[in-house]
């Protein structure tokens, strides 16, 4: 059985599955239940000046029958006194000394504020800090969270201030509400971050009620933007993790966050460079016990791949992640339809005819409707295989190179060199 233990910037954890800083990690009762269920770590709900919350707070987007495809919240950081949280952190750590407890922190961008909270929280024995520079709602209006996380100088300074007093690793949690997350990730590294985590939630409005014309959620007929998370944000998060993982100036471990719902999602984030993964929405949807399947699934997968440790999986896909300009223009795939499996719904034909390259022909053979791809006109866009509801009816097959591999960047360099001759 593969070893699921990780070493994350010096933090030892029994497995890579951590609960993200959010409602599931609001109290010692919850975190201890999570550890009993099998979670390797928890990032305690953000500590800072206790806030006041509103009601209601959450909303979800369901899509085609899938509940909670996306999740929106306008809840803020902890509303409990620091002393209460610290007592429960201490008790939880004492009961689970081998589990990872990270304290999420958020204060105003003032050196003394960071010094004070780091010292006080450190004294109860946390394994690390996570600086919350990502919360997009409420706290951002007060100059904290995403508001300071969108300014590289503030990310660098606040990281530096936390590091001045931190005796345990400091993780900087980044906001995705920015054009290029590597800029703030680099700022965190310059400030001395031991690791980074991403993504925090994305600015969002879950919906509008067509009867009342209220926003969803609303607070007494008035709404405000929230933070979006859950399965819908996974592709955005995965890209941001990958962009940071392949950036040579961001040479610190990454904790991946964003729509991770099962062991496969976790494995993808690990392959893209995450050493640990953080989960929130899936736990809120299904409860803490989902970690059991995550542990079994990841363990079995590692065994199948012949890997002794999950650490051997970290970042394996990163070298395969590049820029568009470095992709081979002469690589070609085309669609192939297996008419024995095809159910003749014609979705592929309609999709190709209406919105792609018009290369799937309908014809009849022995009175039976058939579909065939004209390979010479197929550009390999994948759309037909994406819309096909019959598993295995359409495969995308690689064609042998007819020309040597050539990227756009190589082509443009070639033309430039040629023109200069």
């Amino acid at each position: 059985m593969a070893d699921l233990r990780i070493n994350f910037a010096g933090i030892e954890s029994p497995n890579p599955f951590w609960l993200a800083s959010a409602p599931p990690t609001n109290s010692g009762y919850q975190v201890q239940r999570a550890f009993e269920a099998g979670w390797g770590g928890a990032v305690w709900k953000t500590l800072g000046d206790p806030i006041l919350n509103v009601s209601s707070r959450f909303a979800a987007v369901s899509f085609n029958g899938q509940r909670v495809a996306g999740f929106n919240n306008i809840e803020l950081i902890t509303d409990r006194p620091l002393e209460v949280n610290l007592k429960e952190i201490y008790e939880t750590k004492k009961r689970f000394p081998n589990h990872t407890i990270i304290a999420s922190l958020m204060v105003e961008p003032i050196a003394e504020k960071w010094h004070e909270i780091v010292k006080r929280v450190q004294d109860v024995g946390v394994d690390g800090f996570e600086l919350n520079f990502g919360c997009p709602h409420g706290m951002a209006e007060r100059g904290m969270g995403a508001a300071s996380g969108q300014v590289p100088d503030l990310v660098e300074k606040q990281t530096y201030w936390a590091k001045e007093y931190a005796e345990v690793p400091v993780i900087v949690k980044l906001t995705p509400n920015i054009t290029d997350i590597t800029v703030t990730a680099e700022a965190a590294v310059r400030g001395g971050a031991d690791a980074i985590s991403m993504i925090n939630t994305i600015n969002s409005l879950a919906g509008v009620d067509l009867n009342s014309w209220n926003t969803i959620p609303h607070v007494g007929n008035k709404g405000a933007h929230g933070g979006y998370c859950g399965p819908a944000v996974k592709p955005i998060a995965l890209n941001m993790v990958g962009e940071c993982a392949r950036n040579p100036h961001i040479n610190v471990p990454i904790s991946g966050i964003g729509g991770i719902s099962n062991w496969k999602d976790a494995a993808e984030f690990i392959l893209m460079g995450s050493t640990s993964v953080q989960v929130c929405t899936a736990a809120m949807h299904h409860g803490f016990s989902i970690v059991e399947d995550m542990i079994d699934g990841l363990s079995n997968y590692l065994d199948e791949k012949g890997l002794a440790s999950v650490m051997d999986l970290v970042g394996q896909t990163v070298p395969k992640y590049s820029d568009w300009g470095d992709l081979d223009l002469n690589y070609k795939v085309v669609a192939e339809i297996n008419n024995d499996v095809c159910i003749n719904c014609n979705k592929c034909h309609i999709a190709c005819e209406d919105t792609s390259h018009q290369c799937i022909d309908l014809y009849t053979e022995d009175g039976k409707p058939m579909l065939k791809v004209r390979e010479e006109d197929c550009v390999g866009c994948n759309l037909c295989s994406i819309v096909c509801p019959a598993e295995g009816a359409i495969i995308m097959k690689e064609l042998p190179h007819t020309q040597a591999p050539m990227t756009w960047n190589e082509r443009q360099a070639l033309l430039t060199t040629f023109s200069a001759k």
């Binding site: 223009l329 018009q358 290369c359 006109d377 020309q403 040597a404 050539m406 033309l415 040629f418 023109s419």
Partner: protein, 70 residues
Amino acid sequence: MAEYKLVVEEIEQIDQLLSDGYEIKSVKEDLEGAYVTFANPSNNDERILHIKMANTRKYFSSKLLEQMSS
């Protein structure tokens, strides 16, 4: 639609010129595609092909790479 037929036609024109001893002399690309000038060193004759199809623009690029590598 058969855009491929247009690609084949353009590739055949390129291949014909190359087999007749022409070499790519210059490439100018703009909103209308690419204008590729072929020159024949043996008789100084020049021909210009207006390449409109994307796959043919990949093709002449590969041919140019071969030319510069030889």
